[in-house]
């Protein structure tokens, strides 16, 4: 394995360690007592104290942190005290909705943004460019949940093409399951696509002014061929960086949109766990988000090395 990979993997592990510490501390200072939440406000203080002991809440924080991380490393996630099911299975079930949602949204984002951005850059200053820029401005200004409501009104209520919410479940077949993901994925993608289209446009414009693009034209390539063969891959370095960051935004957006669309994904789980003070679940869900984001950024770094031969040397 190359030194580049080893270094990246070590950074990844350190990042996750730091994330777990931050998550633990934040959850620790959250107001509210899980034992009292479980037993209700009228509960007998002695019963609450007993439950606190049973939940391990009376042990010192360091011990609880170590027990948590140690458990995760051993594949032991514990049992959710609000859902009364093993957290591991719960997370896997929810991930099976959120991950496909994010993947579809990211694919849509990339497809829309690259075509719009390259189109606008290649026609810099034209009416088409101005129109694309105006649309992206709109896409950035309008919040995702608002798009979601519009999409539901139009495609679910009016046209009835897609369900307005809920998840058909993977057992209902891939088609039905994906259909329930289409509208939330579009709502998630539009904002990100608007941002990424602007990034793509400026990256392509920058590349179009590079000397090697003039060399490509001097070889006899048309403007378009030079852009495809020499420009795009160079512009992609900047685009991929932003895509990595956007994936984190997408997961955050998923928390909101899963609630709008009543999708039982990780985001909805996180929301419910927090409102019910299921602290153990909150920690695990949030850490899982961190793992996803860190893993995507690791992939982005690997992509750099694939795109740009200079990366291996400088890393």
């Amino acid at each position: 394995m190359s030194a580049f990979l080893v270094r990246r993997l070590l950074t990844l592990a350190a990042t996750l360690l730091a994330a777990s510490l931050v998550i633990f501390v934040v959850v620790e200072v959250l107001p509210g007592d899980p034992a009292r939440t479980i037993l209700g406000p009228e509960a007998d203080p002695e019963a609450v104290a007993a439950l606190r002991v049973r939940l391990g809440l009376e042990r010192p924080p360091a011990a609880r942190y170590l027990a948590w991380v140690g458990g995760l490393l051993g594949g032991e996630f514990g049992v959710s005290y609000t859902y009364h099911v093993p957290i591991g299975g719960l997370l896997a079930e929810r991930l099976a909705i959120t991950l496909p949602l994010a993947a579809v949204a990211m694919a849509l984002t990339t497809a829309i943004a690259l075509s719009a951005g390259v189109y606008a850059a290649a026609r810099r200053g034209s009416a088409g460019d101005v129109a694309v820029m105006a649309l992206t401005q709109l896409g950035i200004a309008v919040p995702g949940f608002w798009f979601a409501i519009l999409l539901i009104l139009l495609f679910a209520v009016e046209l009835g093409w897609f369900p307005a919410g809920g998840f058909a479940g993977w057992d209902a077949g891939i088609g039905a399951a994906l259909r329930s993901l289409v509208l939330p994925a579009i709502a998630l993608a539009l904002v990100q696509a608007a941002i990424l289209a602007r990034v793509t446009r400026s990256a392509v414009i920058e590349v179009l002014d590079e000397d090697f693009m003039r060399t490509a034209r001097a070889k006899g390539l048309s403007r378009r061929a030079a852009l495809w063969r020499h420009g795009l891959r160079n512009a992609l370095v900047a685009v991929v960086t932003v895509m990595g960051l956007q994936f984190a935004n997408l997961t955050a957006g998923a928390v909101v949109l899963e609630n709008v669309f009543a999708l039982p994904g990780l985001g909805r789980l996180a929301f419910q766990a927090i409102s019910q003070r299921d602290l153990q679940l909150v920690r695990d869900v949030v850490l899982l988000f961190a793992v996803v984001v860190v893993a995507v950024n690791f992939l982005v770094d690997l992509l750099y090395a694939v795109i740009d031969p200079r990366v291996k040397l400088s890393a």
């Binding site: 000397d211 003039r214 006899g220 403007r223 160079n234 200079r310």
Partner: protein, 327 residues
């Protein structure tokens, strides 16, 4: 018939303040297999002249006039005709070998690309020919370097790659824009020798652009001196550099560092600076900096007038200017 026949070429820069011509009515001809240098200070329009010929003027710069190439006017040709000519019959080497190559493609692929574009050659055949040419232009360990990337090569090696890339389809005309300016002196000499040898051997026409009179004197047979978008003097190198007729050329010659210069003596430059681009004004472009300028210089444009055999200059006092010049 000349291979390249540029007549009254203008390159006009669109600026927010209006149009500013950066090349103002340049005319010259270059026959098959002949060599011409264009010299002049920075900003006088050398690169824009070359890019106009290639049909690759930057955004916001427009070419006007006539650029005859093998009998057709390039300025009126459709883009796909130009694409067929570029890289095949017309080729150009750029000043900056650092940035003129695509950083993400192996150099072998870049050198072979014109063959694939114009000859529809398969990868293996095109790569084989690229390797032969890279060896011929003196790239050491050329076989290994085929798969290397530009950042793994030195400036001189990259410029050899650029040269191979320009020559691979056997163009009729090679335009070299400051091909050695970015290189250090010893590498400069090697690259110039190489260009000279290749041009001789292949019978190409060469348009060499440089601000360096020494480079021009060593490499080409004829030279045109540009000042503020115009050609002010033209002729055989020996005549123009040996007996310059235009006060500007004389100034350039005096600015050259001399081998016999006394130690510590600062070498002179042409007094004054090139005025910024602006709308065309009447009269001699050099009048603001010319020691011989008189009112008549500022009213009308001095035409090109004979200054010797095949030697012309645009100055109303060619004879007086001669007198003012001391070698």
């Amino acid at each position: 018939m000349a291979l390249l026949d540029v007549a009254d070429l203008w390159a006009v820069v669109e600026a927010p303040t209006g149009e500013a011509p950066a090349v103002r009515g340049v005319s010259f001809a270059l026959a098959h297999g002949r060599t011409l240098g264009i010299v002049g200070e920075s900003g006088c329009g050398k690169t824009l002249t070359a890019l106009a010929i290639m049909g690759l003027l930057p955004r916001g710069v427009h070419g006007r006039g006539r650029i005859g190439f093998a009998g057709v006017d390039l300025l009126t040709q459709p883009e796909d005709t130009l694409c067929r000519l570029r890289g095949q019959r017309l080729a150009m080497i750029f000043q900056e070998p650092m940035t003129a190559l695509n950083p993400l493609h192996p150099v072998g692929r870049q050198v072979a690309e014109p063959l694939r574009i114009h000859r529809g050659m398969g990868q293996a055949a095109a790569y084989a020919q690229a390797l032969r040419l890279l060896t011929e232009v003196g790239l050491d360990q050329s076989a290994r370097r085929m798969s290397q990337f530009p950042h793994e090569l030195s400036g001189g090696q990259r410029q050899r790659v650029m040269i191979a890339m320009a020559l691979i389809c056997g163009p009729d005309l090679l335009i070299a824009d400051e091909p050695t300016t970015a290189l250090d002196v010893t590498v400069q000499a090697h690259i110039l020798d190489l260009v000279r040898a290749l041009v001789d051997e292949r019978g190409m026409a060469l348009l060499l652009i440089s601000h360096d009179l020494g480079v021009v004197a060593e490499t080409v047979a004829e030279v045109a001196v540009m000042y503020r978008g115009r050609i002010v003097e033209r002729g055989p190198v020996t005549a123009v550099l040996g007996q310059p007729a235009h006060p500007y050329t004389q100034g350039l010659m005096q600015a050259l560092p001399r081998l016999d210069a006394r130690r510590g003596e600062r070498h002179r430059v042409v007094p004054g600076a090139v005025p910024p681009l602006g709308p065309p004004e009447p009269g001699c472009a050099f009048a603001a900096r010319c020691a011989l300028a008189e009112p008549a210089c500022r009213t009308s444009d001095p035409p090109m007038a004979p200054a010797g055999p095949d030697h012309t200059a645009a100055c109303i006092h060619i004879a007086a200017a001669r007198g003012a010049w001391r070698p």
